[in-house]
Symmetry: C2
Subunit: 306 residues, 2 copies
């Protein structure tokens, strides 16, 4: 089975949206990425750190879906990272109530020997230096290295971020971040400038307005967000997108534009499931049929003959 | 040649964007609709009113592209409607500096005999009562009646608007207006409620985030906005969309979902050309080759195989 290695946060989240609220549930980027990737044929391997309060029942959520957690360090002297947030009525904006880094504060990732020979490496949104450390520990370069990041690192660690971008093939950011990173307002111009940093592909995420894929040889592809009956919690939609995307590429073993386009659709499908229930709940229990049906809906929603 | 009748405003606009400004240029909804429709095989026939200052050179812009203006009344005692506005840096928002209705204030549309037997009737965003009057003057119902409207009529003439919606097949509004008209935040729910008023199709325009098409039997289609090198003036993009859309349907003579999907693509293509220059400038000088190339770009941007 194809091998996807994922580095990033593993945490507890407490989420409130107009449709309800949760207690502490499993969160951070890696569960969304790993669970989503599994539906597209990849075996996920997580690199992260948790505290003593991350008990077996949480690991069980991941193990039940075949996710390898050998690379998750348990820091017995600290608690697991914790994030709490409240979404506005339109759910495109949220307010962070608290972020407790806890064990994540001194996280120094170690890539286990069994994680070597990965097909794809997916780096969730964490300190650029940690992303670099994981890349440097891969003895053989994966076929594709994908990284997510955010404006926070552009503001606080731009040089490190630029160095990390030079080491990867695909960057995923949102439209505002693309504008900030490039200094260009028009997205096509922003994309060209960012691709010139050495990327093969750039993905600009636009939330419920879909995602744009740009290739370094001029290709442009757009995937809309699926139109859903119900959206109860957008937390993790971007990470689920990254999981569907990187999982699809890992399982296909190819990185040409046609494959990467389909991978964007896989990401969009994963993101759509994520939003329908709180946290990772929906992503824990999907079937192959669920995925197939939604890919078909996606095709119906975008295909036309002129 | 297939016949498209267009009712709506014909005006002068003075536009300022971050990329420049114009003096009084030909504006209002109907020039954008009529010029765009022409590129998809329809002959446009405008119903509107202008003042004594709307001299031959302005009519010439329309006549040069084969547009019939028999139904444009010249009110010699008044001036042409005038709108001036300034766009913000991100161009998704604009401030109206002035709207002078002038001759439009007492506009009472008359449909000329030569406009009868229309294939499609496209009603630009004007008073719902005027839209009704035009529909009522069509002796034979066109194959498709399309209407545009805006939040202003929801606020000031909701009953008239609801009555007009009952008389048409397709409504085009933006996402915020769809939410206002339905009282539903989730767009799929909003669309279902609005379609239930008796429409065949609803189009929700999302500006540079594309357009959604909903059919009354559950079909959903999404067309992204094309990714452009340069956007200098978004004025009229929605009207150009309506023109490409209604012109395409008129020339095909069919109103099934597959045809209407392709018509949304035609609308998106027309809207993309509109934004590249000020006012209707770009729409005055396109070639068949320009249109074909852009439809091809649109296909490349959305097609994938999973």
């Amino acid at each position: 089975m194809s091998k996807l290695v994922i580095g990033g946060s593993l945490a507890f989240d407490a989420i409130e949206t107009p449709f309800g609220k949760t207690d502490k549930i499993i969160g951070g980027a890696t569960p969304y990425i790993a669970l989503s990737a599994g539906y597209f044929g990849a075996k996920s391997h997580i690199i992260s750190v948790v505290g003593s309060d991350f008990t077996d029942s949480y690991f069980e959520i991941l193990h039940k879906r075949g996710i390898d957690t050998t690379g998750v360090k348990v820091d017995k002297d600290n608690k697991t990272m914790f994030w709490a947030g409240v979404y506005n009525k339109d759910m495109n904006q949220r307010t962070t109530l608290t972020t407790e880094l806890n064990c994540f504060e001194k996280f120094s990732p170690v890539v286990p020997e069994s994680y070597q020979e990965a097909d794809v490496l997916m780096l969730g949104n964490i300190t650029p230096k940690i992303q670099q450390s994981i890349i440097n520990q891969m003895k053989k370069r994966p076929k594709l290295i994908v990284m997510d990041t955010m404006n926070f690192w552009m503001d606080t660690a731009l040089n490190d971020l630029e160095d990390t971008i030079k080491m990867v093939d695909v960057l995923t950011i949102n439209d505002e971040e693309a504008r900030q990173l490039s200094g260009e307002f028009i997205l096509l111009k922003a994309a060209k400038k960012i691709l010139a940093k050495g990327l093969k592909y750039l993905i600009i995420k636009k939330g419920d307005n879909g995602a744009l894929l740009f290739s370094n040889d001029g290709g442009v592809f757009f995937a809309p967000a699926l139109i859903l009956d119900s959206v109860v919690d957008p937390t993790g939609a971007g990470d689920s997108f990254a999981g569907g995307f990187s999982g699809y590429i890992a399982s296909k073993g190819k990185t040409d534009f046609e494959t990467v386009k389909a991978a964007v659709v896989a990401g969009s499908v994963a993101g759509s499931f994520c939003c329908e229930k709180f946290g990772t709940e929906n992503l824990q229990n999907l079937t192959e049929k669920d995925i197939k049906e939604r890919v078909k809906r996606f095709e119906e929603m975008t295909k036309f003959s002129f």
